[in-house]
Structures are given as structure tokens and as C-alpha cells.
Symmetry: C2
Subunit: 152 residues, 2 copies
């Protein structure tokens, strides 16, 4: 069925700059981190008005996944004592298309540089899209998650 | 700067099936729509545990954008009487990488087929990732948006 659709090519629109070279053990670790997203200067004008939003959605490429093999099941949040779940039920980076999605606070836009807080991307990650965060569209009230999502 | 990173290739993991052949004029129109996402059968097991979540995030390819030219500015929500804004401050499909992101209700998973409500994708759209919706990660309290985002 996927043969119906030719492979799609995406290009980096920018790159993440921060001090993080390796994935930290704790997910919460990212919350306070401030990163810069340096957007290709030919696209600077496409960032206009973005700073009218307090938060943005960043799609980025999880470029540091070394393995060529994509597992169908993973231990959620890398915690090996939890039973494995389907990779689409997890946010693990090693997935069929290695696209990460983060909702982050936009602290500042200056020309082609965005300063953001809470982006869980390693230094050098290619950025592939930026979208405004719109609560009525991106947020759900009373969403349910399984108990293992909060287990430590 | 984007020259640092070679183009990335993504493959469809599935396809959207519904009755919608053309983009409707009103954004709200999608809210009640039920679509099927047919995932490649080789990835069926990767969907395990997904139905423990009430909502999922769907990344899909907006395959019906005809224009080869990507504008830097667009009229928000296609409303031509609003002043144009940067394309990254809008959710317009004609963007450098034509990836759409929707948060939808997961009604049912049956084998490799997901039945979802509220997906704003046309029939035949390639699906490129599925992620669980996790409020603490995907939702923001008190996010601010500009007044034009709700203007009709």
C-alpha cells in the first residue's frame, strides 16, 4: 500500500543550536533548556508574526538515531522494566520516520533566529517545520492516557 | 546553512481514507468528520497499545498542494481580508515541507486500521507518523494567540 506513494523528500528549514550533545536520562530535564533555532536566512520573512504567539510547534529530524533497524515495539520512555508497547504508542526517536514534535515557549524572535524554551532536540537537529500553537486546535480537554505513561 | 544537512527522505506509513476530495471552506467543518487511517500491514504491531490513549497526533503529507512555489507570506486561514502573515505563523498547507499535524480522537483501532474523528486531511493523504497525545507534553495552559487567529 505504501507503494502507492513515492518517497517524499523534506529539506531542513533550519537547525537547533544548544549545548546538548547526548540525550539526557530524564525527560523532565528539557523543560528549562533554552535553545536557538537558526532558520535559513532565505526564509526569514516566513517567520513574521510568529512572535504574536506565546508557544510554537517545532517539527525536527531526530538525526542522531544510529540504528538502521526500526523496532515495532519499544519500552516506553526507555524504561526497560515497563512492558514494550507499539512504537506508534510511544515517542521514541527510532521510528519509521524520525520526526520529533515539540510544543515550546517562544521567548524571542530576532531576524532568522528563534529563542525557545523546552525543546527536547539535540544540538544540530535539522528543523523541518514551525507552526503556531493554537489551543483550540492543538489541545484537548480531558484526554486519557494509560497509567504507564506517568509511571517512573 | 541548510546545505549542512542532506535532504531527508520520508516514507508513507499509511494513508487517509474518507469522502473528502476538496478542502472545505470552513475549518470547523472537519470537527465531526470520521476518517480511517490504513497503516501499512507490515507495521500493524507498531500500533499496539495506541488505543490506550483517547487522542493521537497524526502527521501527514498535504499531497494536494499543486503549486511548486512556496510563498513566504499567506493570508491567515485563507481569509483574504486579513493582512498576510509569515507562513510559519500560519497553518497553511503550502509551506516548505508540506507536513500537516492534527490532534484527533481515536475512536477505534482494528488491526492496521485506525478510525479517528477530526482529522483535517483529504482522502488519499499519505500518513507519515502517529504519536500518542500526552497532555503534559503536548498541551500548554494559558497559551497566547493574536486576535486575528479567531477573527472570521
Amino acid at each position: 500500500m505504501t507503494n502507492e506513494v513515492p518517497p517524499m523528500t523534506i529539506k531542513a528549514i533550519g537547525v537547533v543550536r544548544n549545548e546538548v550533545k547526548e540525550t539526557p536520562a530524564e525527560r523532565d530535564w528539557w523543560t528549562e533548556l533554552v535553545s536557538e533555532i537558526v532558520i535559513d536566512s532565505s526564509l526569514t520573512e516566513a517567520l513574521d508574526n510568529l512572535d504574536e504567539f506565546s508557544h510554537i510547534i517545532v517539527l525536527y529530524w531526530m538525526h542522531r538515531v544510529a540504528s538502521a533497524r526500526v523496532p515495532l515495539k519499544v519500552c516506553p520512555m526507555g524504561r526497560k522494566r515497563l512492558p514494550p508497547v507499539g512504537v506508534f504508542a510511544a515517542r521514541a526517536p527510532n521510528r519509521p520516520n524520525r520526526i520529533g514534535k515539540a510544543t515550546v515557549r517562544l521567548l524571542q524572535r530576532q531576524g532568522n533566529i528563534l529563542k525557545v524554551q523546552g525543546l527536547d532536540a539535540l544540538d544540530g537537529s535539522p528543523v523541518i517545520d514551525i507552526k503556531p500553537y493554537i489551543p483550540g486546535y492543538d489541545s484537548v480537554d480531558n484526554a486519557e492516557v494509560p497509567p504507564w505513561i506517568t509511571k517512573r
